[in-house]
């Protein structure tokens, strides 16, 4: 008897909470019927990407453009660094809660598409207009007959140098077409003059794509047609050992410096005068380092072979769990094809894949530099990589981690090679 007031209070609480859920459900009917979404007020899309502050600034502008043109769609943006990006996506994918629209990487597309986590864009009527995109690029987003990714740009590997730092060091800038031995000698010379504050370069052997490029120069391939490893342990050993002398003589940036500036790059933090990476990194390098100009040239060669290739720099994908496929497709279409968006991003997402955006890129400054670079290397290009197998992202990540261990002196090259092969084989098996 005593607990009657308590029960009454509990009942009241229940009533209130039911009321709340009822209220909460109030704006749902529109979603359920699917057709009349536009009429039911603004739709909110979750959108996420990885990238630097520079990209975030541009993204904010592009999103504002989109929202102005589509008052019925609101974009909720979110961004992180590259490594954390994939950990989050894996968690979300497992729980069926991927964002509506995502920036995607070539290395991960198959992994997610294979598992049904991405929306087949062919299923969305009047979806994304792909007509402006070069035919050779479209297969990058196609897996087993479905279109799961829209390539929005292309990139190629390049070598950057910071002319101010080079002058400051008092060395000649690196020359086009130099060999690996010449480049390593250049690094040694530059680092010697840097006096422990500036170095010629970081340990580039931790970057899987550069290893891939080196293999291409030797006429080899990293993966075979079935997506299995096509290299010998000796290949990787030779690659990782090629900077041994530089590591031991302190001619490359010490590992602890790299750790402390992370997630910024060594070039962005002005620790190195050169760095090799993708050619769409130019804008980020300029922003991070504050340098007035950064020069680009082709990376070192083997017997005159460049081994350069063009691949999709990034793609757009839509989560299979989205409640608003039409709106999401509309947003992807806008980001891929709208000329103004093309102007905002320039070449920072890679050279734009769609013709309308490529034409809109201002032919001056850093953007012109990137366009010129891709034009210069276009005559002598290797074939583009086939869609990458699931687990490729792990291959990249592991090589970077093992390279760090080597640079901290915690692991020998032999150990690193053994461990990379174990991890890579396990990852590709999945």
């Amino acid at each position: 008897m005593k607990n009657r007031p308590l029960l009454a209070a509990a009942a009241a609480l229940c009533a209130v909470s039911f009321g709340l859920t009822a209220c909460g459900g109030g704006d749902d009917p529109a979603n359920a019927s699917g057709e009349d979404k536009a009429a039911a007020g603004p739709v909110t899309l979750n959108y996420t990407w990885w990238g630097s502050q520079d990209r975030a600034d541009r993204m904010t502008k592009a999103i504002a453009e989109f929202e102005a043109a589509h008052p019925d769609i609101k974009i909720k943006p979110n961004f992180t660094d590259y490594e954390g990006y994939w950990q989050k996506r894996a968690t979300e994918a497992a729980g069926g809660g991927l964002p509506d629209v995502m920036q995607f990487d070539f290395s991960y597309l198959r992994q997610y598409a294979d598992r049904g986590a991405l929306l087949d864009l062919k299923e969305v009527e009047d979806g994304v207009d792909l007509s402006g995109i070069d035919d050779s690029l479209l297969p990058a987003g196609e897996i087993d007959g479905g279109t799961y990714g829209v390539p929005i740009g292309t990139n190629a590997l390049a070598m950057y140098y910071n002319p101010d730092l080079v002058t400051q060091l008092g060395v000649e800038p690196p020359k086009e077409g130099l060999t690996w031995d010449e480049y390593n000698a250049w690094i040694k010379e530059a680092s010697a003059k840097g006096g422990g504050n500036v170095w010629g370069a970081g340990d580039y052997t931790g970057v899987l794509w550069l290893f891939d490029m080196k293999l291409r120069q030797e006429g080899k391939k990293l993966l075979d047609e079935d997506g299995k490893l096509a290299i010998e342990k000796s290949d990787l050993k030779e690659w990782l050992a090629s900077t041994d002398e530089l590591r031991q003589s302190g001619a490359i940036v010490p590992a602890d410096r790299i750790t402390q500036i992370s997630p910024m790059s060594a070039m962005g933090a002005k620790l190195t005068a050169t760095e090799m990476s993708w050619d769409n990194f130019l804008a980020g390098y300029l922003k991070d380092s504050g340098a007035a100009k950064i020069e680009m040239l082709a990376p070192p060669t083997t017997d005159g072979e460049k081994g350069l290739f063009v691949k999709p720099s990034m793609l757009y994908a839509i989560g299979a769990n989205t409640e608003h496929p039409e709106a999401a497709a509309e947003f992807v279409d806008f980001m891929t094809n709208d000329p103004e968006v093309g102007e905002i991003f320039g070449t920072s997402r890679g050279v734009p894949a769609s013709k309308a955006q490529r034409d809109a890129v201002a032919a001056e400054g850093p953007d012109a530099q990137v366009l010129e670079y891709e034009k210069a290397i276009a005559e002598d290009l290797d074939e583009s990589p086939a869609p990458l197998p699931a687990g490729f992202g792990t291959l990249e990540k592991e090589l970077l981690r093992l390279s760090e261990e080597i640079n901290y002196g915690r692991m020998s090259v032999d150990q690193a090679v053994e461990e990379w092969f174990t991890e890579a084989e396990a990852a590709l098996e999945q």
Binding site: A10, W86, Q87, A90, T91, D114, T394, E405, Y408, Q430
Partner: protein, 317 residues
């Protein structure tokens, strides 16, 4: 007691205006469960269910997307050939074995100071507790990273004193001391418990000891420590279990990778990397269960050995 009284009453059902105790008790039980329900549902759905699921997954090859494939003990066998796993065990053990005693010593020392009955006690107590309130947050780990970076305050201060530590964050030999310092700094929770324990120690014991000529040190070892031993035991148990599960600070400071060179690869961080970074959820589940069993064993051992050194007042031997 109520059962005994209820029985005879129920037997003479024809008595005028009988009080149906059984029904009242059933109602009471029902409302008991009712009030327990939020916790119970949460426990079953959010803790027990997932734990059972992960027990199953530990014996499977499961990559988050495809159906789990039963592989028996393979995950557990792999663990002991995985050099990074062994590294994570080593890192975690050092953290637990060094960090926990250091943290408890700091907590006890501050509790003793605060127990001496000086002025503004309330203020000091709050001030010393504050780091624990904000300590688990992401922002503190970020601040910590900045403090210990190259050219950070710690580096500058120590350089000023003639040491040349450089940045702690990038040096694999210095990240562990840094992590232990971060944990030690958050001694607030055990401190408050120690303080409460200290208040329970009867004054007379100290007075009698003083009269007998015992010095401060003697009084501490012969009165404070034995009288406080149940509280010490409680704190030791909790802090050990907590230390095994450290995650957030290591995740932030190493950018989620356990670096540099695996020096902050704590057990739970490696578990996260395997489970969510590499999508090897079966393997990660196996790791989780090994950890749960080990913590269980350690707790059991601590309880068993506690009989030798923990004294409960009123207990006679």
């Amino acid at each position: 007691m109520s059962t005994l009284q209820a029985q005879p009453l129920r037997a003479e059902a024809s008595a005028p205006a009988p009080v149906d105790y059984r029904r009242a008790r059933r109602a009471e039980t029902r409302s008991g469960y009712f009030f327990l329900a939020p916790w119970l549902i949460g426990f079953l759905l959010l803790t027990a269910g997932p734990m059972l699921a992960s027990l199953y997954l530990a014996f499977t090859d499961y990559n988050l997307f495809r159906d789990p494939k039963w592989i028996g003990l393979e995950n557990f066998e792999k663990l002991f050939n995985d050099s990074r796993y062994l590294q994570s065990v080593k890192v975690t053990l050092i953290y637990v074995l060094v960090g926990t005693p250091v943290k408890l010593a700091a907590a006890l020392a501050v509790a003793l100071l605060l127990n001496s009955g000086r002025k503004a006690q309330g203020f000091y107590r709050s001030a010393f507790y504050a780091p624990s309130l904000i300590g688990a947050s992401v922002s503190i780990a970020i601040v910590w990273k900045a403090l210990f970076s190259d050219g950070g305050i710690v580096d500058l201060g120590m350089t000023g004193m003639g040491f040349q530590p450089g940045g702690w964050v990038g040096d694999p030999d210095k990240t562990m001391p840094m992590m232990i310092l971060l944990a030690t700094w958050q001694f607030g929770a055990p401190m408050v418990i120690f303080l409460a324990g200290l208040k329970q120690v009867p004054r007379e014991l100290y007075e009698a000891a003083s009269v007998d000529g015992a010095g401060a040190l003697r009084r501490f070892w012969s009165i404070t420590v034995p009288m406080l031993s149940p509280v010490i035991f409680f704190n030791l148990l909790l802090e050990t279990i907590n230390a095994f599960q450290v995650f957030a600070s290591a995740f932030i400071i190493s950018g989620g990778a356990g670096g540099p060179a695996g020096s902050t690869l704590f057990y739970t961080l490696y578990l996260y990397i395997r489970g969510f970074g590499d999508a090897r959820m079966g393997y990660a589940s196996a790791m989780a269960w090994v950890l749960a069993v080990v913590i269980g064993l350690i707790t059991w051992v601590m309880f068993r050995t506690s009989k030798g050194w923990v004294h409960y007042s009123g207990e006679t031997k």
